[in-house]
Subunit: 530 residues, 2 copies
């Protein structure tokens, strides 16, 4: 499959720019052909105008039409076959089995949103019928439904070149909602982006929808990211990446004359609390579980546990020793790109400089810099140091974690209280531990979007009950998730139609409920006709 | 009923400040006793710490407990009797019958949220049960519920001294959600605020809830508004008022290290489009309806129609003449306070200076400045002028409206396209008009939170289907409403509990569904036990 290296704007290849960039294989640094043409500000305008132009027709498409679009995209991605996986491997350094799994997740997400659309309760219909005889004032007929918010800009993430990139969770949920999508592809995997974009664009055409429903813009420069967020036609933004990057986009959106929502999933240390009973009963199993969770995918997951807390004592000492050895047994493998690897190294260097933070485990196998390999590293310190040193509460993206030994149960609560917002928090305990864990769980519920008992934060299930979000800086909006079917809610806004004749009322609000939707009618849920 | 003039912080009277202010009767300018003590920054800290301290116990209160709290508040407000209405009249200049109606609405809102709590679907429970045998990976048990976001700061509005003030819609919905509330009372009606706050505080005590669930801070200075929004313990903000005020609060929240949601309902011109068929068939009825909607309550409603559009022709000319006469027949009455009246006058002065905008109707009865009375005013201009003059798209708060004559149906669409975000948009038409109104309605749906056919925007029903919101600058968050039962969603965030034993799982997520909640279990809505 040959790559053209151009932007794909509303179905048309576009290469206005005079600058180009290449992807590089992180494992060895080989430059990957072809050159990709940098997007220009003029192309940003074209893509956004295309999205706006497609909005009205896409808004009117039926849920069934959009469900079929998503299924076509899924089929199209699978039809790309091994060429997609090979290109993604070359661009990301990720192994084929991981990428095969990620493709399955990507396709699964798209199909799950097709189901959501057919089930129909996502648009939260509320109908209050007229009460013309009511005194002192009659009540008009009021019908409310969630409608697509407008053109959405999605920033592809580097750590999931399929599942959080061109046709990942943000794009799938936005298309499901009925929003045209302009993707800013991640510059680390432009070839992967191009292949998937071609499949999306074909699916849009086959579904008989306007081409402006989807565009892909390629670029390695940050300047056009801000242009996309500040573009007057942009209605909302989805982003997965660093705290610095997400905050910059948030600030850009907030500096608009008309601020728009930014859903950035940014930074999380995913604290794990190990209670003494659990360590006594299954310390070795916890060591293995934690080791896997810290080092899988070279720690490049937003849910990697970067902090592990426990209480001073023999069990904790045992855990610390065993986990140090387990981390030392980690064989380095390529990180996603050289930039991530060097940022990881800077993170380690900063930790190494903190007094009273010591390294208690490090990959015994040497890490090859030219292969962007990281040394998995385990650190240890005391609760007292953790409380006074804010640097220890910052994410190090990669296979590093910090053990924090609290002097007692009270100090364990104190360290929990100083944590910032998190995607997840985890507690390992036995029944006796949990009998006294109420205060800790209360704190963690305030800090994290997902609280886990006797499990590990990595491996985020895509399902209705998933909440992949959390207080700032985990995300920029604590009320929404970026994984699972509830993520569609990010791209919707309510509209209330008062006293509309059916001739101009959206079909799902008609009296006879032709779409068979679950609706709240005069306060009661029902799928029946009025 | 004697007033103490102090803040009410977590059940305790507090007057640390050395500055004081008085309310004034807008009708005549009489100073109303007593002096009210300005809040200090120390008192902001006290109130927020009280709210945070109450959070955990309030979070654990049952829906039934909170429902009873809301009902007690409603009863307490009614028990204040005529003293409340008399004080509100003196402070706001609003007539007693209006205030009696507003009290009914306030009490009704509180009781409606009690019903919402008992019905139970507001917390959007989703349960995906474990699939331990699933390959390649098992699925853990995941249970998600909406929980209260944290302490909420509510800014009382001047134009609804009861329904959008101390125990108004923001407070009612936040308490229903389980969030402690700190109200910043509007300085125009501190006595009304104090009376209602006493009722709320008593209800909190009688419900056996911690006093920190509610505080009232009084003040006429803007400096402590920003302190409240930037306070580290504040989780979200509700505001109803001017665009300038709302934007200042939004910017303050966005400048925090950890930005928080601000729900500000700010500015709307509520455009009304009059189609030729409707004018032909019931022009005089439209004149009367518009006149009432523009001048009721001296135009001091966020949904007052400030723009009326039509197409050049005999019907439009007739409408213009008749509405001008109707507006001229308006008898001035006191506005809410002298500041609002002078802002209104400035708005009129600015319009009068625009070339090709002419006055076509003005209250024949003189307006008495010492009674803060406004002259109701109707203006007229062409679509062409409207398109080129951005000033005409800014809200003038008070009994003023602008007629805009489009040259033809195309220009009508053009003027609709340049509108900013609105709370409402209205179209009057007959069946023939609506046969061709699709493009106009599509534009208006993008611009407004509520679209009305053959009605008037004032008179906002409090019900499940109401959406009182809209794109910026109507509000700061297009996704949420500040009126109706859906407004509870502003104060909630999802938390997902993974693999929790029932001993530590919130009760509404237990297998046997002891609260009888509607829950989405493995994708299907159900009230049954698992």
């Amino acid at each position: 499959m040959s790559l053209h290296g151009k932007n794909l704007i509303a179905g048309v290849l576009s290469a206005h720019g005079s600058h180009a960039f290449h992807a590089m294989n992180p494992a060895g640094g080989a430059v990957l052909e072809p050159a990709f043409c940098e997007t220009t500000l003029e192309e940003v305008d074209l893509a956004m105008a295309g999205a706006e132009g497609a909005y009205t027709a896409f808004r009117k498409s039926s849920a069934e039409q959009r469900a079929r679009l998503l299924e076509r995209i899924a089929d199209g991605i699978l039809a790309l076959g091994d060429a997609l996986l090979e290109r993604a491997r070359a661009e990301s350094g990720l192994p084929l089995d991981r990428l095969t799994g990620e493709r399955g997740r990507t396709v699964g997400q798209l199909r799950q949103f097709a189901e959501v659309l057919r089930e129909g309760s996502w648009c939260d219909i509320r109908i209050d019928t007229a009460l013309p005889e009511r005194t002192p004032l009659p009540r008009p007929d009021l019908r409310r439904v969630l409608v697509p918010i407008g053109p959405v800009v999605v920033f592809g993430a580097s750590n999931f070149p399929l599942a959080f990139s061109v046709a990942g969770g943000d794009t799938a949920s936005a298309l499901a909602a009925g929003c045209p999508v302009v993707v800013k592809g991640h510059p680390a995997h432009p070839g992967t982006s191009e292949l998937v974009a071609t499949a999306v664009s074909q699916a849009v055409a086959e579904a008989g929808l306007p081409a402006g429903v989807f565009s892909l813009l390629q670029g390695s420069r940050t300047e056009f990211a801000v242009a996309l967020v500040k573009h007057p036609l942009t209605s909302a933004v989805g982003f997965t990446g660093s705290h610095r990057g997400g905050r910059a986009l948030l600030d850009a959106a907030n500096s608009r004359r008309d601020p728009i929502p930014v859903f950035a999933e940014m930074s999380s240390l995913n604290p794990v609390f190990l209670m003494p009973g659990a360590l006594r009963e299954r310390g070795e199993s916890i060591v293995q579980g934690l080791k896997t969770s810290i080092t899988a995918g070279m720690g490049q997951f937003c849910t990697k546990p970067g902090l592990v807390f426990g209480i001073r004592g023999a069990e904790w000492e045992q855990l610390s020793n065993s986990l140090g050895q387990a981390i030392a047994s980690t064989t380095p493998a390529s990180m996603l790109h050289a930039g991530i690897c060097s940022a990881y190294q800077s993170g380690l260097d900063a930790l190494a400089k903190v007094d009273a933070v010591r390294c208690v485990g490090r990959s015994a196998t040497a890490a090859r810099a030219e292969y962007s390999e990281p040394q998995a590293t385990l650190w240890a310190t005391s609760g007292e140091v953790f409380l006074r040193e804010p640097l220890l509460r910052e994410e190090v993206f990669g296979p590093s974690s910090l053990l924090v030994e609290a002097a007692d149960a009270d100090e364990l609560l104190s360290v929990a209280r100083v944590l910032g917002g998190q995607l997840t928090a985890t507690v390992h305990g036995n029944a006796a531990d949990f009998a006294g864990a109420g205060p800790l769980l209360e704190i963690l519920e305030r800090k994290a979007g997902r609280v886990i008992v006797n499990g590990y934060p990595t491996g985020v299930e895509v399902c209705p009950a998933m909440h992949h979000g959390g207080p700032y800086p985990a995300t920029t909006d604590v009320r929404f998730t970026s994984v699972g079917t509830a993520s569609i809610q990010r791209w919707l806004r309510p509209v209330c139609y008062q006293n509309f004749p059916e001739t101009v009322l959206p079909r799902e609000l008609w009296n006879d409920n032709p779409e068979g939707r679950m609706r709240r009618v005069n306060g009661r849920l029902s799928t029946e006709a009025l």
